[in-house]
Each structure stands twice: as C-alpha cells, then as structure tokens.
C-alpha cells in the first residue's frame, strides 16, 4: 500500500466535494528490494474507482485523464518525469490542476 496526498485545484476540487487535499492509501504490488510504489496511472485508476462520484467526463476521457488537466508530482510537471508512468511513492503529493480563466 502507498499513502499519497491527492490534491485538486483550478476548479477540479468541485468534483471531490470541494475538498482540495485527500490523504489516501492506494494498493500496490510489493517488488523485491523496492519500496512500495505505484504510478500516476495507478493513481488515476484509483480515483476513477474509489473517488469520482459525479461528472466523470470532467476528469476522464475513457480510462485516461481528460486532456487539459495538468498533473504535478511533488510540484513538478509530470511531463518532466514520464507522464502516466511517473513513479509515486509514500508521502508523494499528486496535484491535478485545471487552468483558471477568470479575471
């Protein structure tokens, strides 16, 4: 199991009872000699199955993350670390962010 902080911003929090930060335990497969870990793909899968109650089309496109949502692992853009395959370990912070446009 991996304990991670899931955070939602830029309006996405409205899909999760307007709570911006969630501490959750995500199942993972233990591998010999490695600490418990999952990937962003695993995180998205977990959100789909356990957390997303209404308007899933605002977060997902099929089984994938809806285009236009930025993902940051420990405040770093997932593009810099392998996108869906980014490793997520205990205490990591995964932030899903939408762009704001109000002014």
């Amino acid at each position: 199991m991996v304990w991670v902080y899931l955070q939602f911003g830029g309006g996405l929090e409205t899909l999760f009872d307007s709570v911006k930060s969630h501490k959750v335990e995500i199942p993972s497969k233990k591998k010999e000699g490695l600490s418990d870990r999952t990937t962003v793909k695993g995180v998205i899968n977990y959100i789909q199955k356990k957390m997303l109650k209404k308007n899933p089309e605002m977060f997902l496109k099929g089984k994938e993350l809806r285009p236009g949502i930025l993902v940051l692992i420990n405040d770093i853009d997932w593009e810099l670390g392998g996108k869906e395959e980014c490793i997520v370990e205990n205490n990591d912070v995964v932030l899903f962010l939408s762009t704001l446009h109000g002014g």
């Binding site: 089309e57 930025l70 810099l80 446009h101 109000g102 002014g103």
Partner: protein, 292 residues
C-alpha cells in the same frame, strides 16, 4: 552632451517622482529608464487589469495600451478599483485611461475599444514590448498567447476566480513554455462556465494583478528572476502560495512548435470561440444577477 545630466536620462521631475525607486540599489536609474522607454499592452481592464494599469502607470512605464470591449458596470466595482461610480457606463478602456492619467500624466495611454479579436490580434501585440493577459475567458487567453508567440512577445498571465489565483510568465526566456505548451487542450466548452463558478472575492484579482505588475517590471528591466517555466498558485482561504515547476517549450505545440499550425497567416481566421472554450467575453455578471 545634451541629456548628460546627473539624472541619467531622467528629468528633474522624474527624479522627484521616482526617488524611492532610484535609491533602491537593486533598481536605480538605469532600470527606471528602461520602464520609461518600454510599452505594455494590458488585455482587459477588469479585476486583474485594474491593479496592473494602476501600478504600471505609477511605476513609470512609458506607454500603456489597454484593450477592452465592455463598459463599466456597478457590479464591477467590488473588484475593479481602477474605475469609480462616476465612471459607470464609460467604456472600460477609456475609464482606465482617465484613471491612469490622473495618477501619472507622463505615461502615454492608448485605448483599444474593440476588444481583443483574432483579426487585429497580431498587429495589436506587435505594437508593444510586453503583453499582460488580464482577460476573463479561455478563448481570449489562447488568442493572446498565439499572437505573443508569433510576435515574439513575453506574456504575463494571471487568473483569479473564487478564492484562487494563478500566475505565470509565458513565452519568455531560454526555452520557457507558452500558454499552449502547458495547456494544449482548452477546457471542455461549458464545463467551467457555470455561474456559481464565476463568483470571485474582490481582492483576489487585486493580489494576482499586483503580482502581474511586478512580473511585468521584472521582464522589462531584467532584475531578479521572473515566474517563467513556473506557475504560482494561490489559495486565498489559507493565504498559501505554491510554486510549481512546469515543462519547457513543447515540440508538439500548435503555437510555438516547429510544426505550428497557428501562424502569422492563419491566426486571423482561427475560430477561437469554437475551438477554445466559448465566447471571447464573459457575460457572467448579468447572468449571475438573474440567479439571485
């Protein structure tokens, strides 16, 4: 030599007005002069544009262009402190120009009263050194970005809604991403346009707008390090700021990539309203009233 006065290119009145910036070791006469010789286009004279216009005029930016298409309404005044009750009904760009002139008559203000439109976008942006996105809808944000990329102008972008804010400098510096590199896909049309999402605590755009003014000054003068390749995220409920590290320029970007499809030739006809999340104006305020 004429102008070789100890004011370093500033006249006596300017030395008096900007004294507190001139004595600042990290700023000084040379940077004050850069402000004087620079020009900034502010897209939107609303909640974000208000502090941007006020603080850039106050700071001594030589020429400021203001783009808007709307008139001042009373429901704007809870956050758009650039305007006033006796300016309700006045075109926002004109009202902005009046207020800036009262504060600093040495700044030249140019008003662009037809709003930011794809047809005129490139010419507008090319008339200024730096562009500030203080608009209130995604279609305009993409259009401003694309014009900045084509014209090679840095873009100081801010946004605020509810009690949240975001800030970044796009299309600037070595490999800094453009808005489209980071947000290639516009929000699903209509999905974020609900009226209840459109409320905003009045001071929020004030905070983000003053930060945009600071970034603009840093882009113009080169002092410090600006928020390029980074996104500053603000949560007003806990007064918490967080700096996120963004990707660099993307080869796949439709605006700044090597195979860009949005170019000098295509931007004027690009259908931003259809492709980038709705109309190029935010008529939410009237609608909100009806809901109450």
């Amino acid at each position: 030599m004429e102008g070789a006065w100890r004011g370093g290119g500033l006249d006596k009145e300017e030395v008096e007005r900007y004294a507190r910036q001139l004595v600042l070791p990290s700023f000084g006469v040379a940077n004050q002069r850069k402000l004087k010789e620079s020009s900034v286009l502010v897209v939107g004279a609303g909640g974000l544009g208000s502090p941007v216009c006020l603080y850039l005029a106050a700071a001594g930016v030589g020429r400021i262009g203001v783009v808007d298409h709307d008139h001042v309404e009373k429901s704007n005044l809870h956050r758009q402190v650039l305007h006033a009750e006796d300016q309700v009904g006045t075109h926002k760009a004109v009202s902005a120009s009046i207020s800036m002139h009262r504060l600093n008559s040495t700044t030249t203000v140019e008003t662009h009263v037809d709003g930011f439109r794809p047809k005129a976008a490139l010419k507008l942006v090319e008339g200024y050194d730096v562009v500030v996105d203080a608009s209130d809808n995604p279609a305009t944000r993409y259009c401003v970005n694309d014009a900045c990329v084509i014209a090679n102008r840095p873009l100081v972008s801010g946004a605020a809604i509810g009690t949240d804010g975001q800030l970044s400098v796009y299309n600037h510096g070595e490999g800094g991403p453009c808005y489209r590199c980071v947000w290639p896909d516009p929000p699903a049309s209509g999905s974020c346009q609900r009226c209840s999402d459109h409320g905003v605590l009045g001071v929020l755009p004030g905070i983000i707008g003053t930060l945009q003014a600071l970034e603009t000054i840093k882009v113009i003068t080169g002092i410090g390090e600006c928020t390029s390749g980074k996104l500053l995220m603000f949560d007003g409920l806990c007064t918490g700021f967080r700096t996120l590290k963004l990707r660099g320029r993307q080869a796949s970007c439709a605006a700044c990539g090597p195979e860009a499809t949005i170019t000098r030739d295509t931007i004027a006809a690009y259908d931003y309203e259809a492709k980038c999340g709705g109309p190029m104006h935010d008529r939410g305020e009237g609608a909100c009233l009806k809901v109450l």
